[in-house]
Symmetry: C2
Subunit: 282 residues, 2 copies
């Protein structure tokens, strides 16, 4: 397991963590100030400053990308074209993968749809849509990273809710493990899973495309936007990182915190805390 | 699958559903008014009116019990004696099983304990404690029903979070399927699980000791106390009931709704709505 205690060269910042404190250009400047080497930007943040400017800002700052957030939401009518644009943008920005949040029941992914309770059907549609998206992604040589989301989001955000389920999709759609399809594992979504360690072993290096950290707070006061800073909650983050690294994962440890609390603090304070906690508890 | 549309003879009321509107005696009277034949009372509600009075009230009203809530919380110092008392009370009240909510990390189940992030260790302790509780339960001929709780409660309420995990415990501790140990399945906790249907089939009739219903609301504004009335959320309740009945389950469909919203309404209105929805969407 890599030693993170002496520096933060393997820290990547998911830019949603400070989305309320500035635009993507501000965030990239702040990363430079704090010696952060990598980011995972969100599409809306890229769109807000323009793709060309984002590409230049990333390049000028010498930043790497640990991913691009996000594709998916497959039940939307415009999903196909939109996901192709996500791949093009990821390519322009130099991202290694597009993170997929697949969408939940159609009425939440596509407001106005007839109300459905058919989560099994929603899951089947996701399989088909990923298969289709892979055709375009392969041409672009862009990997797709399915992110299983915590079961609390099964209805409205993602009907892929366990690592096993995400890996089942990988096995069906990329049985030869070409690297075209894998998983993005966020400790927030998976820490509770009794099958976590065997499933990480099952994933293996070629399916482990991204590793995200934050923490689970008790109590959690908002199911969406009350994620904790690493060390403030109950997740044994080091043990999960140890498991992914035991498979050969050697990429960035990406910090992604959706938090009304942390969004209310100055950007420099958030980044200083991220760096400290990356060194001490990640 | 049984037809529930014509009457509510298979409706049981978990008494927490109206815990704010009256004491257990009031609730039992209300059940009689509404022709509800069964309840699942909570220990604190029994204690509040006294066990003897509760036993008499249940008997005088001709009520059956679909369970007794609850045992577990195994990380507490006093858990062993307390769980034995729960079994004695369940026996006195004529309950078919004690529902087990096993507890989460020790600092939440036992305030004052050292903070732990070792959910694997917590799970091992639960196995051991259930094994011990079974010795006393067997003498009393009382079944224990492990209730897997939604992963959102893994830290603070129960570290058993999937049906598969609960059934693994059953297989380890009661491999001969004597009926001493089984599961209480609440659609709220399990509806999202990609493994739900195969695990219900794996459980089989002898492990299916209780079936609870309510609904998952979108958005969920409070992770503990914002459960929905059946039909107001996204759970395909009929399909889950169909799966448990396909295994031979023929017991009560128990309504358990923790809801700040429903606790604010008159008891008779809540029970009328429960009966309506039991007939139309359960």
């Amino acid at each position: 397991m890599r030693d993170f205690s002496a520096d933060h060269r393997w820290l990547s910042l998911n830019t949603a963590t400070v989305r309320k404190q500035g635009d993507l250009a501000d965030i990239i400047e702040a990363c430079a100030r704090h010696g952060i080497r990598a980011i995972d930007p969100w599409r809306d943040q890229v769109a807000a400053i323009g793709l060309d400017r984002a590409v230049r800002a990333v390049r000028d700052a010498g930043l790497e990308l640990s991913g691009y957030c996000r594709g998916g939401m497959f039940h939307r009518i415009e999903a196909r074209d939109d996901n192709r644009r996500a791949i093009d943008e990821a390519k322009a920005l130099g991202a290694p993968c597009v993170v997929l949040v697949v969408g939940g029941l159609p009425q939440y992914s596509r407001p106005g749809s007839a109300a459905s309770k058919d989560i099994v059907g929603a899951r089947t549609q996701v399989d088909d849509a990923i298969a289709e998206m892979m055709l375009y992604a392969r041409e672009a040589q862009m990997s797709l990273a399915i992110e299983p989301l915590h079961p609390a989001y099964a209805a409205d955000r993602a009907c892929v809710n366990t690592t096993a389920q995400a890996l089942d999709i990988c096995d069906r759609l990329d049985p030869k493990r070409t690297g075209a399809l894998g998983v993005a594992l966020d400790v927030y979504h998976i820490w509770w899973d009794p099958e976590l360690l065997p499933q990480i072993a099952r994933a293996g290096r070629d399916r482990l495309l991204a590793f995200h950290v934050c923490d689970w707070l008790v109590p959690t006061t908002d199911i969406l936007n009350d994620r904790g800073m690493m060390g403030d909650g109950v997740i044994d983050i080091k043990s999960v990182r140890s498991a992914v690294e035991a498979q050969g994962f050697a990429g960035y440890s990406e910090i992604e915190i959706f938090s009304n609390d942390w969004w209310g603090k100055p950007m420099d304070e958030v980044l200083r805390t991220c760096i400290e906690r990356h060194r001490s508890v990640v």
